[in-house]
Amino acid sequence: MKKFLICFLLLISLFTFSEKIALIENNDIIFKEVSIDKLTVENIFEVLSSYSNSLVPKNILNAYYFVDTSLIIDLDSSLIRNFSAEDEFLFLLQILYTLFENIQGIDRIYIIEDGKQTNLLVKYINIYFSFPKELYRIPD
């Protein structure tokens, strides 16, 4: 009986998801618990782009860098150039919430595009300045 209980608990722990990511539902951000093998920036983008209810396109991440407590992500602007204003803010929030939740040791994120610091994410959102972790925490 004891062995069975241990096996059962082990089985449960295997199916317990611990990471939260931001996805889209009814034009709003929702949070979903998933399992991510290795919490790297690359993997997180891959996971985000694997969901149909996500605005994160595949291969959007050109590169990323850590500088002190900052994470700098370099995106491919050609993959988001047709976004509407709604798509643009939802995409931004998806990235910020998910990265701040899952990447430890950072307190700000800078977004650059095609290797350069730029003013606009697509057409409506200013990304020249960094985003602080405090405003993009996934609620418990």
Partner: protein, 298 residues
């Protein structure tokens, strides 16, 4: 005696033709213009500006330097600037050819150590995009903000040290804060925001004719129900907190009253120098929101 006289004249002529090229705190001494001197000057200058690097090399008996789509070739007798052969080239010719901004004072050439590409006045912010080193200082006097050159600064013309480059009248400004980013300086005029009136705009409208004591409301006709304010940024070391906090107070009230979800998104329409809110909601709700805000303001 004859030898001494010749040596004396040689020394005089050497001194006469010796120039100092001054690039920020680096001085390059040169008595003639040749490949090595030109290379040294352009390398030093392009490094200071953090601009395009020079390319150089040899072809047979020629030596060339290419910088910013301009080619200078050194032969035994002449210097060729793109396609034009120049005999007895001067530093003035060389700097003009490369469009380098300089000031000549006797044997000294002072090259602009800061090139201001754009100076944008955004109300309580000044945004300066530049190449080179930050050679500006600021001060407030009698409600006027002054930008003063500390070195040789080019902005529409070349300024020598201690010249006023820009001034503007400012009101209710407690102090000035400088934020330095790569190739950009943000000068903030720190104010206390006191909402005196509300200005309304639509999402695609140009946001203008407001002041820092206005609350700027930007409506977007949308089936969604969201309220957005600009996030504060760690880049401003807390100096944008007051603007954020003022906008946040109004946004939270609207969020609660009209069941609008609040997010922190720096829409480009939101002013950097006045509290502002973007609201995505059906146009049918706009009047109700306006009535609520006007009531709240009173």
């Amino acid at each position: 005696m004859k030898k001494i006289t010749i040596l004396f004249f040689l020394l005089i002529s050497f001194t006469f033709f010796s120039f100092n090229i001054i690039i920020d705190d680096i001085t390059i001494e040169a008595s003639s213009i040749n490949f090595y001197v030109t290379k040294k000057i352009l390398e030093t200058y392009s490094t200071l500006l953090n601009d395009e690097k020079i390319a150089f090399g040899s072809l047979g008996t020629f030596q060339y330097i290419e910088w910013k789509d301009k080619l200078v070739v050194f032969t035994k007798d002449v210097v060729v600037l793109n396609d034009t052969a120049v005999k007895d080239i001067t530093f003035d010719d060389l700097f003009d050819f490369f469009e380098i901004k300089y000031l000549r004072k006797d044997e000294n050439y002072y090259l602009a150590s800061m090139l201001i590409k754009n100076l944008e006045d955004i109300g309580t912010y000044l945004q300066i995009d530049y190449l080179g080193t930050n050679s500006l200082s600021t001060y407030l006097s009698n409600n006027i903000l002054y930008l003063v050159s500390k070195g040789y600064v080019y902005y529409e013309r070349l300024y020598s040290p201690n010249e006023i480059i820009f001034s503007k009248k400012v009101e209710n400004t407690k102090s000035i804060e400088l934020n330095e980013l790569p190739k950009r300086i943000i000068i903030q005029l720190l104010k206390t925001y006191k909402i005196e009136s509300i200005k309304y705009f639509t999402f695609n409208e140009k946001i203008e004719n407001y002041n820092s004591n206005d609350l700027v409301i930007i409506f977007k006709d949308s089936p969604l129900n969201y309220v957005f304010i600009r996030n504060y940024s760690p880049d401003f070391n807390g100096n944008d907190w007051e603007l954020f906090s003022t906008s946040n107070t109004f946004a939270k009230k609207l969020s609660k009253q009209f069941n609008l979800k609040l997010y922190y998104v720096p829409f480009i329409q939101l002013p950097l120098d006045a509290p502002g809110i973007v609201i995505f909601t059906s146009s049918e709700n706009w009047e109700k929101i306006k009535d609520y805000l006007e009531g709240d303001e009173k």
